[in-house]
Symmetry: C2
Subunit: 104 residues, 2 copies
């Protein structure tokens, strides 16, 4: 299975996820069109296709075929591993007092 973090590393892939939030179950050509319109992205169809492969390998996108169309559905559940791995936001800490400190 692919790496969720690496899948999120590319800005274009993140924008694709944004578009799938806006409208779920889009086809490849639909996604290409919206990336070109709403964001100024002039990427090729194959480029987007490969990005979708990465997203699918990471479990962030599921696909289903119907006739000659292939619909892409968003699945954000893999994102929970990020929120659960590190304790989020104790806030930018007060750097004067509460840090653990010993001479190495």
């Amino acid at each position: 299975m692919g790496d969720v973090f690496k899948a999120l590393a590319d800005p274009t892939r993140r924008t694709i996820l944004d578009e799938l939030v806006d409208r779920n179950g889009q086809t490849l050509f639909e996604i290409c069109a919206r990336l070109a319109m709403k964001h100024g992205l002039s990427s090729t169809r194959q480029a987007i296709s490969q990005h979708l492969d990465v997203l699918e390998a990471a479990g962030l996108v599921t696909t289903r075929r119907e006739g000659r169309y292939k619909f892409h559905d968003l699945d954000t559940s893999p994102l929970t591993v990020i929120a659960e791995r590190w304790p989020i936001d104790r806030g930018p800490s007060d750097t004067t007092t509460e840090t653990t400190e010993t001479e190495p």
Copy 2:
């Protein structure tokens, strides 16, 4: 400012964050030692140093100098942008009914 997502893309950098959760305010050599011990990572000091630069540029790590030591503190607040960008976990959806669908 650096990209938080790209900073998280590398497994070694994620492990460094894990170690900083375990013990905050470590020096470069401390981190190197722990990466070698607890995880089987045989990376060079410079490699880890460059990783820390990336993490610092992403705002995930803050540094403070004291004498010849440089301590590294974790700051997980940049991670909130991930949790807030996409609606997390509607769960793997039932693929038969509730998806939006129109012929393109």
